[in-house]
Each structure stands twice: as C-alpha cells, then as structure tokens.
Symmetry: C2
Amino acid sequence: MFDLLHTAPSTKARRGRLTTPHGVVDTPVFMSVGTQGSVKAVDPRELRELGTQIILGNTYHLHIRPGMDIIRAAGGLHNFINWPLPILTDSGGFQVFSLATIRKIKAHGVEFRSHLDGSLLFLGPKEAMQIQRELGSDIAMVFDDCPPHTSTPREFRAAVERTMRWAAECREQPRAPGQMVFGIVQGGIDPHLREECAKSLVALKFDGYAIGGVSVGEPEPEMFRAVEITEPHLPADQPRYAMGLGTPAQMVELVARGIDMFDCVLPTRVARNGTAFTRKGSISIKAGAYKSDFRPIEEDCDCFACRHFTRAYLRHLLNVGEILGLRMLSVHNTRMFVRTMEQARAAIENGTFAEFRRDFVANYVPTQKVLLARAAAADR
Amino acid sequence: MFDLLHTAPSTKARRGRLTTPHGVVDTPVFMSVGTQGSVKAVDPRELRELGTQIILGNTYHLHIRPGMDIIRAAGGLHNFINWPLPILTDSGGFQVFSLATIRKIKAHGVEFRSHLDGSLLFLGPKEAMQIQRELGSDIAMVFDDCPPHTSTPREFRAAVERTMRWAAECREQPRAPGQMVFGIVQGGIDPHLREECAKSLVALKFDGYAIGGVSVGEPEPEMFRAVEITEPHLPADQPRYAMGLGTPAQMVELVARGIDMFDCVLPTRVARNGTAFTRKGSISIKAGAYKSDFRPIEEDCDCFACRHFTRAYLRHLLNVGEILGLRMLSVHNTRMFVRTMEQARAAIENGTFAEFRRDFVANYVPTQKVLLARAAAADR
C-alpha cells in the first residue's frame, strides 16, 4: 500500500506513494484538518483546486456530533461530507486526554464527560476502532494515551504501557474494507521509552506509524528530539506521520528527518485571525502597511485568493468582519502548506532536497504569533 | 439605456433590459447586497455561477471603511472588490437616517456621528454623488431623506421637500463615465405626497426611479400601498426599483405591480441563522426534522449547495458552527431569489406571468421568523 519512490542523499527525506481505497496520496503530504467534517471555512471544491490529497476527520468530535447514527445512515463519512478523496481519522485519544473531563481511566478505555454537555461517555480501543470502521476512513489511528509534555517519567511510562496494550487491542478489531490502521508511538523525549513503544507497535505490523505526543505545547527542540529518537525504529517501507505538525519550516525540517505525513490546524486557524503564511514567514494582513497594497498575498502564489484579490481588499474584509476575508486566507494558507510539500516532493525527485531545505528554512522567519498559535492549537 | 421588451397582460409586470457600462441587466432582477464590498459569505465566482447580474455597494459604509483614498487608489469599487459586472451604489441617505447619530440636518446635507467610532462626518447630495462618482458604480442613487414609517404627516412632508431639493442638487453633480443616476421617491403612504415627489423627480429626468421609505419596518399592506400609489407616476420606459425588498413572494407581487429591480439582505442574513428559502417558504435547517434528511435543501435547485450537500450535513455544520454551513445557505438563498426573478422573466416572455404569480404566491408560505428578520433588516 506504500511505495517508497525516492530517497534524498544526505538527509532522510523520502518521496512515497500511499494507495488507499479512495485514491493515491503522494508523500510527503500535508493533510488538512476537518475535525467536525469540514475544513474550516473551505469547501471541497476549493480544497481539490488547491491540491489537497487527503483530509482528517475526528472520532471524538464526530461521535459526539452529529453522532454515528447519522453518519451510518449517510453511508459513511465520505458520503456525509461529500469528499471523494482519502480521509484519515484520528482515534479520539488525543481529544479525550486534552478536551474532555476524564472521570476514570480503565483497563479498556476512558470514561469521560463530553466537553460540550458533560454527558458521560466511554471511549477505548474497541469503541474508537468501531467508530472509525463506521466512518469508513481510509486510514484509522489507534486509540492511544497522549500525556501532556510536562508529565513525570512515571506518567510517561504508564502512558506508553497503556498505549502499547491498547494498540494490540485496536489491531484485533475488524476494519472497514481496505482500511489501513496506523500505530501511534508515545514516550515523550525519553529515547528508551520511544524505542520500546515503537518496537512493540512494529511487532504488531500496522500499516503505518505516527509519532504522537508532539504538538502538545512543547518547545520546538523537544518536538524535533521526539521525532529524531523515534524515527530510526520505524520501518523504512511504511509511512511515518508526525501528528499535529507544524509550521511550513517545521514540516520541511521533519521531511528531512524522514517524516512523510503531516496535519495541522494552523493554516485555517490563524487565517481567522488575519494571518497569512508566505514563503518568508507569516504576515498579519490586518496591518496598516497593507491598506493600499494592491499586490496579492504572495506574488507567485497560484491559489484562488491570490489570483483574485489584493492585500488591501482582504485587509478591508478582515477589518470589517466579512467572512470572505477569513475564507480567502484559509484558502491561501492551505495552498501554501500543500505547495510546500509539492516543492519538497519535486526536490526529492530531482535530488535537490538538501538545497531546497536550506533555502526554505533560511528564508522562512517564523513569527512569535504563529508559534503561540501552534502551542494553543493543542486544543484541536 | 433601458429597453422595455415585454409587458404582461392583466398585470403591470414588465420584462426589460438595462444597459450599463459593466454589462446588461435583465429585469425583473434581484440585486445581491454587498454593503461593505462583499456579499456576505459568498465569493464573486459563486455569485456569477448562481446568475447574479448586479450587486449593491453602500456609500455610507464604504466611505467610513476602507475610505475613499483606498478605493480611489484601487481604481474604483469594481477593481477593489474584483467584480466586473454592474454595481449599484446606495447613496448613504438611508444609513445616515437609520444608523448614525444625527447631529444636525442642514440645508445641503446631514452632520452626523459615525455609528462606528462617533467621529463627526457630513454627507449631503454633493458629497454622496462625489463618493459614488469615485466608487465608479454603474447606477448611483440620489441622497434622500428616509424618515421612519411612524413619522407624522408634517415629518413626511418635510422629508419629501428635502428629498426633492436634494435630488435637484444631486442631478447637477458630475458623474462617472456612463454612470446612471436614479431618483428616490419618498412620501410614506400619502398618495398626494408620493405623487408630488414622483412628479418633481420625473421632471428632473433621472435614468430610473426608486421607491424609498419601504422596508423600514412597516406592515406589508403599507409597503404594497406605498408602491401602488407611486408606480402610476413613474415613466413606463424607465426602470423602477423598490428599495430593500423583499421576500420571494413579495418580489413576485411587486413585479405584478410594475417593479423591475429589488435588493434585500434577507438571503444572506437569514442564512447565518440557519434559515433556507424554498419555493414553498422558508425552513430552519437546524431543525431536528432534518438530522437524517439526505435530500438537498430543495429538490430541483441547481445551486452549488444543492448539487453537493444534504440537509443533514448542512444541519450538522450549522449546529457545530462550521462556516461552510452558513456559506452554503447563503449561496442557496441567493440562488433562490435570483431564480425566482429568472422564472418571472420567462413567465412574462411566455405570457404566463399571471398564472406564475398565482401559483407562486399560493405555494409560498412566509414564516413569521423571516418576516421579523425583514423588519430587522431595516438596519442594513
């Protein structure tokens, strides 16, 4: 299901192709986040026009609203939301541990109260896999225990042990036709824990492996370290997915560290605050500097927003609260993330990835605002 | 500039064609409201796909934000917002009298405080026409005095006298190349006042005539009466525009009373509350009845929303606060208004307008919710 097409000299970057029931995904890939069955403010036509290959849905959120009765009656998530291309579903583990009020962690899952109405719910490996089977996603994720990055060594160990046990339970559950299941490696920044967790999951023979416990508010060096100590223990011939990451420069750095798949709420989240991503970093389109700037957000961008609207107009729309403003920034930002991965793929194929990475990271100046938004994005 | 192509037997309905610098407008026509330079939540491509021929902009709002320096630097409103088809601009009279805090009504305009930041501004015939010239709209409206429908006879008379005097001033101002100017008839439901105002404006030879002082919170019978007592005094060979109206059934009734042009915020405004217009009246898509309803909003609708999404999915989006929900209802509702006018035009051409009107109004059951929203829309 995963073909490794090219590797890059002098880095760990990989060019691959993942075949799913709903089509092919070229990697490295940025996956847009559609937590509640919609990539925020963007419609499916716009997503396809900007080159989106695969989107995310979320078990926890979709299970609560609209509920599985409705999605089952619709014939699965693809039908319900009218998205014919691949979908990856997160298991809900992250959300149970970050959004919900946990009542009790039990042997086979977590009893928690919904963040919405406080109703008592239970989610564990069996339930998460059943929901994902009914959602009919192309890639399902195991139900893991994702602790805060500030946890104690004892807490990290307990989370890894639970994650490994739950992964084995997930592995035994039935799947939707053709559905792949990815394991999730936890373990903080402890190399032994990460290795132990990775090896235990690899022994279970999943279809791909994710690095979890990143994008949970940790400083950037810890995030890179978590990836660096995990990646060597993952099989070369299967896809690797860094969950919840990152900025464009972080994604390029993670491609160089052997990661194939990314998802992040940043492009649409910061759009709603008027922030646009460019090749040189992010800019606040609301700034007075753009009030008579009749250039597109980014001169050489091919997105719908850049082909049709100026910074001055988008600034006006954002300042008066017109939805078209945040819509167009969401389109542009998503295109910027998707395009960065297109450029990375081309560079790997051409054997120029090392130069691409060097130039990209040198030109890209991350703003504090976006880094803070990334930290806050842990409530996704 | 206006060609009267067909008239309907047994009603006053007319099929016309208005030629403007940015293209032809087939009448009767529904014009989408883009007060601040954007039809709320809908993009220009979507507007064109759903058959929008002309949109509105607003002098008062655009003058305050982004301000004329920026729109002038952009080369006018069409360029600024990237809308290549016709634009009609309202003069700001209605907004000054409904939104702003009036400080003093003077001989040549109104001194008022901005509803946004309280800054002191002045708008009169000369200023309103200059702004509209710089906006470069295809149709400019005169600066009128639009009193509340609860005004006294003395207040209505004063408003009409001021409106006539200001109309004469507007008539003398320079225009953008090819720009048309429409007069606005005031006078409440007093036949003598309406006649006097209409005749005075017609003597000034405007390019078209609007009926103002409607959609200001008055009961529906008063609205129809204001139109019925005004229309006979307007030239048959020029376009007539009922400002701020109405529901689909009201528009059909007004076409039957000889009106050619309409604008209303209803389609996009009620969309943001989850209300969809259909041929049978409006429905609240958030209602539990639609939770497993996998039909489109309206079975025979050709809009983007109805071609792609179900009621169940749109209900979910609205309930979880996803922007795509209100976007798609805005698209559908606008299409429903535009299509009603397409159907009216075809019926006039085919000589079947009387039947079309009878069937349309008989099938259309207005909801109290929408009628209240129309009343509230007086703050447009």
